[in-house]
């Protein structure tokens, strides 16, 4: 089968490489530009690294949440909801009292970018923002998109291949920021046997936020995923084993 028309581009936005690939008749350069422009907009609004972003202004007390833009308000709501849904294991409030929504913005913005592509009539695409992935339809070969799970130490290699079939794939690593690795219920540090935890969920927004929370739960994180309907997990342990939830290997079939 001849490959379908595709355009693929990587740009560095939000401090990470973002790759967008579009496939099929509706694949066009202008659509890619629109998606990247959207990520740039998100960065301008939400970056805690940019002094003039709305989040930075809120944290300095110059802007109130009520007067912030609709996107900031909806992300804030989403973060609050996730905090509740995960018993506080997802927490967007930093120890010094400021808000850091970056844990939710990544998945949220990929989700929005995917919706934008569908609106433009693009049915086949793959968006990868710093290792968090949303695919739809088929790749340029006309087959299911394949996603490798990066090997934690042999970073040029992969440990597993999955076919998400339009679901979202997010990986959370050991290297989470300080506020994420303390158990919010006890204040005690979380001892985790995992180096990384990869989640396949209904969409990238949900996969990403629950991957962050589940990882912060330490050993119980995989239990949490196992109980969560519509989610499957693959975790790599420090002693180089992989732990999988009961339905995970369904995704290893193309």
């Amino acid at each position: 089968m001849d490959g379908m028309k595709n355009i693929k581009e990587v740009r560095d936005i939000m401090g990470m490489p973002i790759t967008v690939e579009v496939v099929g008749a509706r694949a066009a350069r202008s659509v890619l530009d629109e998606v990247f422009a959207y990520f740039t907009y998100v960065d301008e609004i939400f970056s805690t690294y940019k002094t003039e972003s709305e989040i930075s202004r809120i944290n300095r007390g110059e802007l109130s949440l009520e007067t912030a833009c609709a996107d900031v308000q909806s992300v804030y709501e989403a973060a609050n909801q996730t905090c509740k849904e995960t018993d506080g294991y997802f927490n967007h409030r930093t120890p010094d009292g400021t808000i850091d929504p970056s844990g939710i913005v990544k998945g949220w913005s990929i989700q929005k970018a995917a919706a934008l592509l569908k609106e433009r009539g693009v049915e086949n695409f793959c968006i990868d923002a710093g290792g968090d992935i949303q695919t739809n339809g088929v790749n340029t070969d006309g087959t299911q998109w394949s996603v490798g799970i990066r090997h934690p130490f042999q970073t040029d290699h992969i440990a597993k291949v999955v076919y998400p079939h339009g679901k979202g794939v997010a990986t959370s690593g050991t290297y989470l920021r300080g506020e994420h690795i303390y158990d919010p219920t006890t204040g005690a540090p979380v001892v985790t046997p995992f180096i990384s935890m990869t989640l396949i969920g209904p969409n990238i927004y949900d996969a990403d936020r629950f991957a962050t929370a589940a990882f912060a739960m330490g050993k119980r994180g995989m239990h949490f995923i196992e109980m969560l309907s519509g989610y499957e997990g693959y975790a790599i342990t420090h002693d180089m084993q992989a732990q999988v939830t009961s339905g995970f290997n369904e995704y290893t079939k193309s």
Binding site: M14, G15, M16, Y49, K106, D128, G130, G131, D132, I133, T135, N139, W145, S146, V147, G148, I149, R150, H151, P152, F153, T155, H157, I158, A159, V161, V169, A170, T171, G173, T174, Y175, L176, R177, G178, I181, D183, T186, A188, P189, V191, T192, P193, I195, S196, T198, G218, K219, R220, M222, H223, I236, H238, D239, M240, Q241, A242, V244, T245, S246
Partner: protein, 186 residues
């Protein structure tokens, strides 16, 4: 019946003795001492029973680290460099034997730190430090009854894929911190 009662009393008395004898209180004090250490405590990730051939050496090294941490808290300038006395140092590789901790590398969304183990002058292990502290309470909480999830061996594959999941940023930061740790080992 009398025998049973008297033996119960004896057991109770013995239990009281065990609970209140002076040495019994000593070990919890050490534990709390460790958990209140301000910076990096030795990583106990590898202190699990299922280990490969190199592990006893590593574990020993970590124990040495623990002792040093507690006795020389003021020598904060060289906290990451620990020479191992039991093992003869053979400089076959380019590095000096010991355990070294790299700088905290920023991965934008995350920060982390690498610790390396140098043996016979060569890098034998590199791993991230996920926790600043370790205590038995959190370990107890995390060991709380879990359902059995299936395990499989971690494989290394070269398969062609459309894209890869896993934080590329952290991989970059991993290398940054690793390079720093190795720099300290030279």
């Amino acid at each position: 019946m009398k025998k049973i009662i008297s033996s119960l009393i004896f057991i109770f008395a013995f239990a009281l003795y065990v609970a209140f004898r002076p040495h019994a209180a000593a070990s919890p004090i050490i534990v709390s001492d460790m958990s209140s250490a301000p910076t990096i405590t030795p990583v106990i990730i590898y202190n699990t029973p299922t280990k490969k051939a190199t592990t006893p050496v590593v574990r020993k090294t970590l124990n040495v680290t623990t002792v040093k941490k507690q006795t020389s808290v003021k020598k904060a300038s060289t906290p990451s460099m620990m020479h191992h006395k039991q093992i003869p140092v053979m400089h076959r590789g380019p590095y000096v034997d010991g355990i070294y901790t790299g700088q905290i590398a920023d991965a934008y969304y995350e920060t982390f730190q690498i610790r390396v183990v140098i043996k016979n002058g060569s890098l034998v292990k590199a791993y991230p430090l996920p926790y600043r502290q370790y205590n038995s309470t959190s370990q107890y909480i995390n060991n709380y009854a879990m359902p059995v999830l299936s395990s499989e061996a971690l494989t290394i594959q070269n398969a062609q894929v459309n894209t890869i999941s896993g934080a590329t940023e952290t991989s970059r930061a991993f290398r940054t911190s690793l390079a720093d740790a190795l720099h300290k080992a030279t």
